[in-house]
Amino acid sequence: MKDKLKMQVTSHYRILRSPARGGGKSQARKKLIRNFLIHFGIILFSIVCIYPLLRIFSVSIRPGDRVISTDLSIIPDSAALLSYARLLKETHFLRWLWNSLIITMTTSFIGVSLASTAAYAFSRFKFPGKKFALLLLLSTQMIPAGMLILPLFLMIMKLGLINTYLGMIIAYSVSSLPFSIWILKGYYDTIPRSLEEAALVDGTSMIGAFYRIILPLSTPALSIAFLFNFTMAWNEYLVARVVLFSSKQYTWTLGLFELQGQFITQWGMFAAGSMLVTIPVLLVFLYSSKWLISGLTLGSVKG
């Protein structure tokens, strides 16, 4: 009796399963093809992104006579760190790195500080010309950077800040501020106003509510603004070219360009320098990633 029942159940199960199994096979095949195409695309783009980096790394560790080679191996025979050593010894590379670091970090901190407060005002207060000012900020981002070189140069020259850190910091800060303000304003708009009102009733001032409540909740947007400011200032070349004259004041972008001579380019040292300048950026990205958390305001108000 028990066996009979088991057989019935099994056959019934097969009947139920059989049409689904056919459909399941074709679905699984489709899924397989889709996955293959997606992975193929991802791998292809990864290669396109990573290959130049590997190639630069490869060039940076090649001996001087084998820099231009058709050899595809990443780590060539007789690989050495000679280019790195020469770069550090024979040029002002560390000085250039230091200059870049000071200008970039200061620009980023000033940019984020100014943008965070300016964006708060745009997000929370009503004042005459608010819309126009926002549009004006946005419009500055639509002007090609090259067009601003001459006015920036003239402005910095009149301020007597040519060939100084401050000149560079001012130039970089003003060009990155509008974008940072827009990013932060957009984020503040999503934070419920009742949080600040609760803080006001609890005993803070408006500024206190901003520092104690709004800023801690805005770390993702602040990180994005900081990273934007950092990468923009770190990689900038054009403004640096017109503002800085002496080799000792150069940022790394100008410094590396100096390695390119009229008749010969030090490709090994160039590649070694390129590898070294990625390290600070990598460190900043790794540190910032912990602040890029979503859902910070969850639970504050009824969703």
Binding site: L200, G203, L296, S300
Partner: protein, 424 residues
């Protein structure tokens, strides 16, 4: 604890008047509920009291101190927001102690107050959790806890239960009532839910379109609404409103019905109709046969039967109700004037008339709604709609004839022109 005074408080946004000359004195330790429909200005009034909104005109006094220009933190108030407004990056304990830490209160005192409030609100086990790890009810309790640790002079509640489900709302309502009894503090509570207003308030302020309609105890407002708006807004289900005229025949005063007045607070505010308040009446289920046996009661007219079958073009034949002299002493002044009679659904008596003088109105049952212990009957007397509440189970099918009468003592008469109450 403190008293609160609103003196001619007005709020304008440009030309738009949001609140128009609000005057009220709230006594120390009083529980006042401000109630009104969405957009009536009740939250704006509360925010002005909290210092979160500027005052266009007039003055607000807390503990007899003029506070118009005083910063919210200096007003010694605590506010529970509609959306909780918990600080999401702080734990429950940090949320509750935030205001105390700002005041630089000693750590020991902060801890004591937080644990005391947590004990009252059953939050002890949740103190280390973040707001996102709490349910809606728990969040609301934390928001209340954040207010009570401060021991403020005045508590402000801005629709604190509107985001909770029905069961939780009921529980929290009881909790808030208990809390008020325990803390004996001045509470100003804003809601659009008239059940919350009726159950919690010592006094109610009814607001509409920025104007105070009535201030009084819940029972005053329920029994003696000063105008059609209040009559329609307070009470659930809504009062029945019937248009008509006053007729005088010798010593007797009659209300001659001519149609159903628009229902609901908005219509009620502008129009005039008589209103009845529904209460669970001693309903005696009447079967069709029992109606038929009662020779003194009018039978269902063909017109009524047609109406119950969903057909239109029913002739308008109105009914007449005698108005007791105590209800309208100056009846002569209202003779032939358009008025509105209001009667609450629980003052509509169905199927039991021992009083011979009672006016009986023949109606037809359109729909009945069984709500467990009671039943809503949607009736129609010619073209006049009447809602009655009876005890469950009213064993009648749609289309049945249902004779009803009104509880004369609880009838309300309003001037149709300005909506104001004319009956005593």
């Amino acid at each position: 604890m403190a008293n609160v005074k609103f003196i001619n408080v007005t709020k304008r946004y440009g030309e738009l008047v949001i609140l128009d000359g609000i005057n009220m004195e709230i006594k120390d330790r009083e529980f006042v509920v401000i109630v009104g429909p969405s957009g009536c200005g009740k939250t704006t009034l509360l925010r002005m009291l909290a210092g979160l909104e500027e005052i266009s005109e007039g003055g607000i006094y807390i503990d007899n101190k003029f506070v118009n220009q005083v910063h919210p933190s200096k007003r010694e108030i605590a506010m529970v927001f509609q959306d909780y407004a918990l600080y999401p990056h702080m734990t429950v304990a940090e949320n509750m102690s935030f205001a105390l830490r700002l005041k630089k209160m000693p750590q020991k005192e902060v801890k004591h107050r937080v644990s005391e409030a947590a004990g009252t609100l059953q939050l002890q086990k949740l103190l280390d959790r973040m707001p996102r790890q709490l349910s809606g009810g728990q969040r609301q309790r934390v928001a209340i806890g954040r207010a009570i640790v401060r021991k403020p002079k005045v508590f402000l509640f801005d629709e604190p239960l509107s985001n909770l489900d029905a069961k939780l709302r009921e529980e929290m309502r009881v909790e808030i009532a208990k809390l008020h009894q325990r803390l004996t503090s001045t509470v100003i509570y804003v809601t659009h839910d008239q059940v919350e207003a009726m159950t919690l308030a010592g006094r109610i302020m009814v607001l509409n379109r920025g104007i105070v309609q009535q201030i009084g105890t819940p029972i005053e407002i329920y029994r003696k609404p000063v105008n059609l708006f209040v009559a329609g807004f307070i009470g659930s289900p809504t009062m029945n409103f019937i248009n008509g005229k006053i007729e005088i025949n010798g010593e007797d005063v009659y209300f001659k019905a001519s149609g159903t007045a628009p229902q609901g607070p908005e219509q009620g505010a502008s129009g005039g109709t008589a209103a009845l308040r529904p209460q669970v009446s001693e309903a005696m289920p009447t079967t069709s046969s029992s109606v038929g046996r009662n020779a003194t009661r009018p039978q269902v007219s063909p017109a009524c039967a047609e109406a119950s079958a969903g057909r239109e073009a029913m002739p308008t034949t109105s009914f007449r109700i005698q108005i007791p002299s105590f209800l309208l002493p100056d009846a002569g002044a209202h003779k032939n004037k358009e008025i509105v009679l209001g009667i609450r659904p629980d003052d509509v008596r169905v199927g039991k008339f021992s009083d011979k003088n009672r006016d009986v109105i023949e109606t037809v049952l359109e729909v009945s709604e069984l709500l467990g212990h009671r039943e809503n009957l949607y009736l129609k007397a010619q073209d006049i709609k009447i809602l009655a509440i009876v005890e469950a189970f009213f064993n009648q099918s749609p289309g049945s004839a249902v004779p009803v009468s009104f509880n004369h003592e609880n009838m309300h008469l309003f001037d149709k022109g300005n909506g104001s109450r004319i009956s005593v």
